[in-house]
Each structure stands twice: as structure tokens, then as C-alpha cells.
């Protein structure tokens, strides 16, 4: 009765309840679903071979194991990659690495991803229903200060390690040194290219056994540069 690859109804029903409960925690975020209402998104989980059709409604999602028509867009990827895409702000990483594939209406897929990524539950508000406003606020303040401390500590640690490796142990070059070195590398590469072009031109002239009449010797530096450019263009044309 059910096609291979579809998720059992009981699992879908539970999942739908859980998802919609989560959405109800962020009513403003869920309201953005209105734009996607009635569109059909097929999510295919690689590795499991399971497929779930998601139909956004007003303030909630409906999940189906089967849909008779063509979905508007298909998201294909491993559960982990799809989850990362939904949660992280940088969806491009997953897309360009090929972990997640999108077929059909990519705008819809992006809107759906934006919707998932944009969900932000005000946990303090949820907590206040259990503990009351004052206690929840205290907990919220504590959590925030721990969060801030964590972020500051990690920033300072990163900076200290960087300074130690660059200045004390001198294992890594500093930023200015690196930039100067990279500039040198660039210049060297250009010089080698020019030299190669020059050698080639000379070889051509020698191969013909006589001086090249059509390309007279350059009289000035500017002329030489022009001729080199012309040579590059020729080579690029090949």
C-alpha cells in the first residue's frame, strides 16, 4: 500500500507534531510560512532512501509520505547536510560541495531554507511560562553572561595563540610578512611568464633563421611591454 521509501505514517505524524510544536514557539518566524503556503517541497534523504513531502500551511507544516503530482522543488542530501543547510547561515557551502542537491524551483528551496534558518525561539519567554517572569529573566541573564564569557574567552585564546606562534615561537609569519611574501610570489610568477614569452619569441625568430622583420626590436620599455601583451594574447588565442 505504501511505496518503498516513504516514511511510516506514525513517524510522520509524530514528526509533524514535533515540528509544528517547535514552530509554535516562534510565532513570528512561523508567520513567514504564509508566503510558501501550498507549495510542495520534496525532501529526499540520501542513504535512507526515504522521501517526505512538505507542504507549508498557515503557521505550520504538513508532512506527507506521498503526493500524486510533481513537487515544486526537490532537496536531496544526507540528513546531516540538510540539517546543516537549514541551521547554518552559509548554505552555499553545502550546495557547492555537492552535499545537498536542489532540483526544480530553487527560489522556493532558498525561501524554505531562509525560513528554517530564520527561526529563533525566545527560550526565556518559554521558560517564563514555567518559572514566572522574574526567575526566567534571571536564568536568561545568567545564560547570556555565560555565553558572553565563552565568546570573549575563545576570542582571547585565539589571539594569544596567534601571538605566541607568530611573535614568541616565530613558527608562523605575521600578516604583513605574509602579504609581502605573497606579493613577491606574484611578481616572480609574472616575471617568469614574461621571460617565457620572450624566450619563445626569440626561439621563433631563430627558427626562421633571420631577424623577424614584422616585429622590429623594441625601442623603448613601453613598446616592449606592448609587444609582450600581444604575445600573451596570441598564446591565449591558441
Amino acid at each position: 500500500m505504501s511505496e518503498g521509501g516513504s516514511v511510516p505514517d506514525a513517524v510522520l505524524a509524530t514528526l509533524e507534531t514535533v515540528v509544528n510544536y517547535y514552530l509554535s514557539l516562534d510565532p513570528e518566524g512561523a508567520a513567514r510560512l504564509g508566503d510558501l503556503q501550498g507549495r510542495v517541497i520534496l525532501i529526499e534523504l540520501a542513504g535512507f532512501g526515504t522521501r517526505v513531502y512538505v507542504v507549508p500551511g498557515d503557521g505550520g507544516l504538513q508532512l506527507f509520505g506521498d503526493y500524486a503530482g510533481e513537487p515544486d522543488c526537490v532537496l536531496y542530501g544526507t540528513p546531516l547536510a540538510l540539517a546543516r543547510m537549514g541551521v547554518s547561515g552559509q548554505r552555499e557551502d553545502q550546495l557547492f560541495s555537492g552535499e545537498v542537491r536542489i532540483a526544480g524551483d530553487t527560489h522556493l528551496a532558498q525561501a524554505f531554507g531562509n525560513f528554517l534558518g530564520g527561526l529563533e525561539v525566545d527560550w526565556e519567554e518559554q521558560l517564563s511560562r514555567l518559572l514566572g517572569d522574574a526567575a526566567a529573566h534571571q536564568v536568561g541573564v545568567q545564560v547570556q553572561s555565560v555565553e558572553r564569557w565563552g565568546r570573549r574567552t575563545s576570542d582571547i585564546l585565539t589571539q594569544d595563540i596567534q601571538e605566541y606562534l607568530q611573535e614568541e615561537a616565530r613558527l608562523l609569519p605575521g600578516r604583513y610578512e605574509t602579504r609581502a611574501f605573497l606579493d613577491d610570489v606574484d611578481r616572480l610568477r609574472d616575471d617568469v611568464d614574461r621571460l617565457a614569452a620572450r624566450v619563445e619569441r626569440l626561439a621563433n625568430a631563430l627558427g626562421e633563421g633571420r631577424p623577424d622583420r614584422e616585429t622590429p626590436a623594441p625601442e623603448s620599455d613601453a613598446q616592449r611591454v606592448d609587444m609582450q601583451r600581444a604575445t600573451y594574447r596570441d598564446r591565449a588565442g591558441e
Partner: protein
């Protein structure tokens, strides 16, 4: 299964013209606790039966769906999601108390715009022929006095290619399950009815009407007689419930 003068009302025989009124009394009585009772009686499994029905319906965006005996609108809610803004779901029930509850519930869960409500008798549908892509009747057919006529009406309003879905209690396949099921529905069910809805008789009627409802094969034959083609049925939960599906080709 009915002669001209009387019809089944559970295990009782009642005059044909009385059945509709008696069914109405039953549902007037249970309307306020209908969802809660459904959850308790079926241990929540009725939601899965309804999900399965909607998936078997194969409805797509932009289609027109008629939900007969919609009750509190569980099927309609999911249909409304699939057909989207461009589609239409007509939510109907013969009982105004149930329909009012269904409308209130659908508004509460944010389903609006593409749903319409109508109090209709499944035996005489006030819709033109070839109008709907799908007609469903969930746990309603057994309460209809003339089931054959209702099936014919469902066939009439369907467009060619449309399908009818009948979700209804049926007859369990295995004898042990049947024993347990009988015990449950004649002992536990009326007790639950008395405790929760304060009305044991209505729930005894539900149990009895389920027993008097045609079994899978008979209902399949009735659908074919009404004109449906490619009819099939799916037993759920060991045949306690069956979904019959037929197409108008």
C-alpha cells in the same frame, strides 16, 4: 440489507424516516467531546487512518475536494493543505452541531480561504454533476440510511478521473482480533462513553452500527454497483478499519 419500511439503527430496526433523526440525536449528543472520544476510543490511531486516507486520495494542488460527514474536519484540514490557495475543499456534514464544531476547529488551526462549509445530506448532494476531483466520506457512510444512494451521489458529483474514498469501520480479518475487538467495543466503549461524554447509549449505537455495516467485499460490490471502476480496499489495523477507493473513469 434494508426492506422498504425499516432500516438498521445499530441492532434495532427503525422506520426508514426515523433513522436520520436518531443519528442526528446521537451526534448532537457527542459533538462537544467528539475529538476527545475518538482519541480515547482508537488510542489516537484514527489520526493515522485519516492520514492514510488522504495519501490514498492522491489529491493535487488546485483540485476540488468534497468531504462528506466531515465531522470535526480532520480530513478537510489535510486536504486544504494539499489543494492550496487555488483549490477548494467543501466541508459538509448532515449534523449542524458537528459542522459548527468542524468550522470552529478549522478556523482555530488557521485553515481558511479555500474551505467552504455546507450542511448537506449525503443521499442528495446539492452539487452539479462532474464537479469534484475527489469525494471522501470518513466514518460517515454507516450512519447514512440509504448507503447505495449515497454512493451513487458521490459518483455523480465526481469528474471523470475523480476518485471516491470511503474510510469506515469494517470487519477484522483474524478471529482472535475479532474477539478482542468485540469485547472492547461492547464493554469498554459504552463505559468510556458514559464516563467522558456522559452518554453510553450513543456509543453503544456506534459499536452496533459498526457491526451492521457491510464488510469489505460487500462494500466493494456496492461501489461497483454505483458505477465506480478500479475499486479496491485497504485494510488498516487488521481490518478494524478499511479504506475503499473507486474511480469514475
Amino acid at each position: 440489507m434494508t426492506d422498504e419500511k425499516t432500516t438498521n439503527f445499530g441492532y434495532q430496526k427503525v422506520p426508514v424516516e426515523e433513522k436520520a433523526g436518531r443519528v442526528r440525536a446521537v451526534f448532537d449528543s457527542v459533538a462537544s467531546r467528539y475529538d476527545l472520544m475518538n482519541d480515547l476510543m482508537s488510542l489516537g490511531i484514527h489520526r493515522l487512518w485519516k492520514r492514510q486516507t488522504v495519501e490514498l486520495a492522491g489529491v493535487r494542488r488546485g483540485q476540488r475536494v468534497l468531504d462528506l460527514a466531515a465531522g470535526t474536519g480532520d480530513l478537510s484540514e489535510r486536504f486544504a493543505g494539499i489543494v492550496g490557495k487555488g483549490g477548494e475543499v467543501v466541508v459538509t456534514d448532515i449534523n449542524s452541531a458537528m459542522l459548527a464544531r468542524g468550522r470552529a476547529r478549522l478556523v482555530d488551526v488557521g485553515v481558511s480561504g479555500n474551505v467552504h462549509f455546507a450542511q448537506v445530506d449525503a443521499e442528495a448532494l446539492p452539487f452539479s454533476a462532474s464537479h469534484f476531483d475527489c469525494v471522501s466520506i470518513g466514518f460517515g457512510l454507516r450512519n447514512v440510511t440509504h448507503k447505495q444512494r449515497a454512493l451513487e451521489e458521490m459518483f455523480r458529483v465526481l469528474r471523470p478521473g475523480g476518485r471516491a474514498l470511503v474510510l469506515e469501520f469494517s470487519h477484522p480479518e483474524s478471529p482472535p482480533l475479532r474477539k478482542v475487538y468485540d469485547l472492547y467495543s461492547f464493554s469498554a466503549l459504552p463505559l468510556l462513553g458514559r464516563l467522558i461524554a456522559g452518554d453510553a447509549d450513543s456509543y453503544r449505537y456506534l459499536a452496533e452500527s459498526i457491526r451492521m455495516h457491510p464488510n469489505q467485499e460487500t462494500l466493494l460490490g456496492m461501489m461497483e454497483q454505483a458505477g465506480f471502476e478500479r475499486c479496491d480496499f485497504f485494510n488498516l489495523s487488521g481490518g478494524i478499519v478499511a479504506i475503499h477507493r473507486g474511480y469514475r473513469l
